[in-house]
């Protein structure tokens, strides 16, 4: 793939959008030349990381009592019609399967699932009978399809999304509420501890909920473009869907009751987009340690005279570090410098160089991508040093991104201040009349004037309004956050 792999020709700070676009092909992440709009091919370098992300998230979910399951990708049109808000929200985005073979019509149109509530809950109605079956917690790793009308961009917004969805049924409202709180903790464990992505969990305004939900909660992260990107969201569906799909159980008191349902949807491909956008620098990607395809790349510095000895030493490194995902780059058609640039662009956390000088001095040369520093260590210290970097790596990333994130949230006392903050690619914290239906007019004004959105109120911490609504000047019920968004 010759020239395409060469370095980036633009700085991230100067043109984020072009930087992101160049990375797609040069780091072998995604190719948008596939001949359907909005459906990129995800190449091996991103796929390897996304597979690791799936595995981490699936482990967290299984430890939390979710079992895996596989539903069909096609959902009959009739299923959608059972929950009236859900049908309104999702039908415009559905891809429809209508034919088979040579122009033969199907008996019924089938939706390519945009989300799976209407597939899952009809089966829950068959499977759940007694309080003994509850909680009933399932997750599915897979793909959903939505006919997006907004501009698409690999990972951020596409017509095919690689995600996980959980669907949980409970005997009572309190258990369901607790699940929503657990989902938020799961999100923090995944995004912050594993991927170094800072975010705020918002309770969304009533006019911006998941279609069919009683309440929606979503994690927003801020991208370098100044727009927020919605990451995992969790939804309290109450008994809306259980009534629509007749999901009942016999309780201990011998009464038949409808279950309470929650669902949660971490979109792996989108989260991957967020992390490359946040951590990368002018050289290219910086990947959090646990999801890097290779944790370590070994580059032997090869000269004819010392080649055999150097390769032997490099093999020793591979042996000593075989608990890690480690790769030796011994391609002879490229110079060491070319290889250094390539692996730095691809965001490999650690590079170990070994050449004739290292042999002589009994050292290895280490380069770490979190702080972009190169230094020598004694041969015998190898395992210790790598373990140290492993421990520090992702927390170094989160320290940096958290400071940036906090610095980009600014309080606005009035509309003009809010405009300034938004135009400077930051998030505005403002007082706002209401997140119930009556606040929607004020939100629409913000959207029209600034192209920005009321993202909701912060979860977990009650913030008291300190002045009147930034738009209508009526008494504020809430402190909300306003930002442009993808």
């Amino acid at each position: 793939m010759g020239q395409e792999k060469d370095g980036l020709t633009v700085k991230k700070s100067e043109d984020f959008s072009e930087w992101y676009t160049q990375l797609m092909i040069k780091a072998e992440l995604a190719d948008i030349r596939y001949n359907v709009k909005g459906l990129p091919v995800y190449m091996h370098w991103s796929t390897k990381s996304m597979k690791k992300m799936y595995r981490i998230m699936e482990n967290i979910l299984e430890n939390e009592g979710h079992e895996p399951i596989l539903f069909p990708a096609m959902i009959p049109e009739q299923n959608f019609k059972l929950e009236s808000e859900h049908v309104k929200g999702f039908i415009p985005e559905v891809f429809w399967v209508t034919e088979h073979g040579n122009n033969e019509k199907l008996e019924e149109k089938l939706a390519l699932r945009p989300t799976s509530e209407t597939a899952f809950y009809q089966m829950y109605a068959l499977w759940i009978r007694s309080y003994r079956d509850l909680p009933f917690k399932r997750y599915q790793s897979g793909t959903v399809w939505r006919y997006e009308t907004k501009a698409t961009r690999p990972f951020f917004r596409t017509r095919e999304v690689h995600w996980i969805e959980t669907h949980n049924a409970f005997a009572n409202e309190k258990d369901a509420d607790n699940q929503v709180i657990k989902d938020m903790k799961t999100t923090e464990e995944f995004l912050v501890n594993k991927l170094a992505i800072p975010f705020i969990f918002f309770q969304r305004p009533q006019w911006d909920k998941f279609s069919g939900a009683v309440n929606s909660f979503a994690a927003d992260a801020l991208m370098p473009s100044g727009k927020v990107l919605q990451l995992p969201s969790t939804h309290f569906l109450g008994q809306k869907f259980s009534k629509a799909f007749n999901v009942k159980f016999m309780d201990k008191d011998k009464k038949e009751k409808y279950v309470y349902i929650t669902c949660y949807g971490p979109a792996i491909s989108r989260i991957y987009g967020a992390l490359i956008a946040l951590h990368g620098d002018d050289k290219g990607l910086i990947l959090p340690f646990d999801i890097a395809p290779y944790h370590i790349v070994v580059v032997p510095i090869l000269f004819d005279k010392t080649k055999t000895k150097v390769l032997k030493k490099a093999d020793e490194i591979l042996r000593r570090l075989n608990d890690y995902d480690i790769f030796m780059d011994k391609r002879e058609e490229y110079t060491p410098g070319y290889k250094f640039n390539e692996w730095e662009m691809k965001g490999v956390p650690i590079r170990i160089e070994v050449g004739p000088n290292d042999l002589e001095n009994k050292t290895f040369t280490i380069f770490r991508r979190d702080i972009n520093k190169k230094y020598a260590i004694k041969e015998k210290d190898l395992e210790k040093e790598i373990l140290k970097i492993k421990k520090e790596f992702t927390s170094n990333l989160i320290k940096k991104t958290e400071v940036e994130f906090k610095n980009n949230i600014k309080e606005a006392k009035n509309f003009e201040e809010m405009r300034n903050i938004i135009e400077n690619e930051k998030i505005a914290r403002v007082c706002f009349c209401s997140l119930d239906k009556e606040g929607e007019n004020c939100a629409t004004k913000i959207e029209k004037e600034l192209g920005a959105f009321v993202r909701g109120k912060k979860v977990g911490k009650i913030e008291k309004p300190f002045r009147n609504c930034v738009i209508c000047n009526k008494k504020s019920k809430e402190v909300v956050y306003v930002a442009k968004s993808y």
Copy 2:
């Protein structure tokens, strides 16, 4: 899920089909009540094993130099038309996406991928430039959809299949040939060593190839119904698709050449069907060790007086065996006997019981599902005993299935002998005129008279014909195998 979980009411040997159907719901494998024909829901017990199967196969493929990749599920109609045999073979089976939103037509019909040659190779044409890019080996784990017109059955034949497909490009024919041989070894490593499924790899007759292939090779296993089930197949596509999709490279000699392509498709959901059908017995499933959701289930025998002590001892087992997937069943609403039956039906390889008597005798009671035997061991021998069972378990299964498989292949000297063998639910080994086009008439006669198919000739071992063709009595070129099939 109360009563549905209760034991099987039919013996496998007496009614395999009903036995299989009962297992679907009772062992929580699949539910065909989902409201689209041919699209079952795969429940958690089968999904957990299939996830392990994916992981094992992906590791084998990655060690073999394949990188993962993710292509879109939709393929434009125009792509199919580029390879004329491929379009003929696959169009009748395609589900078509034709609309979005509220009855709005898409600009072009999109196929829900039935297989991905026509998606992959247009991108390979962009990515592959030089001999340095070759071999170019990619695999995709995912789902394919085919509008099957034959009777469907969960795992065996469905309209949605969970599989892996590899697509590999090479500089010359020899490298491609070698890949086909490697794919067959991979199949053996997976099916025999991990899953205890015996099979024969056949080179398929020219009239029964993958549409667009030069040669097709497929592994057939024999199910208890007397029908064979096609498991992984690997295909030598030669330069047919590289010419259709213009996949060229600059060779060392500075000449532009078309690549040679191979593809390989292990269908995880179908292989799972084969292994439950083969290994199960009248009690239910027997799962090969490495893919059992739990390797071990611990059942504490609880009485009021000794409950605390017994649970403490059970916890000790969990701690000592935490390298295994181990589950403690301490549900109090079910009797030990009920639990024994349930875990035996679900095919868990090892059960460890611990009760008051065990405490007194310093023993654990072990039940192993490969040989259905129960015995006591000394507490201190726990790790050693489990390791021993782990080593023996899957090879005990393959010993049994291999003998059965060999006993079910019978030589037929004439048509009447062949009819007898087929009617007795076995595979007939016969002499046959030719696997090229001129043999198709004889194959059609076999199909019409016996409902059976010429599966091809054995790969890897040249078998010399010992008499004339079993149908036309002309000189035989081949020894072939004939069987009914799914």
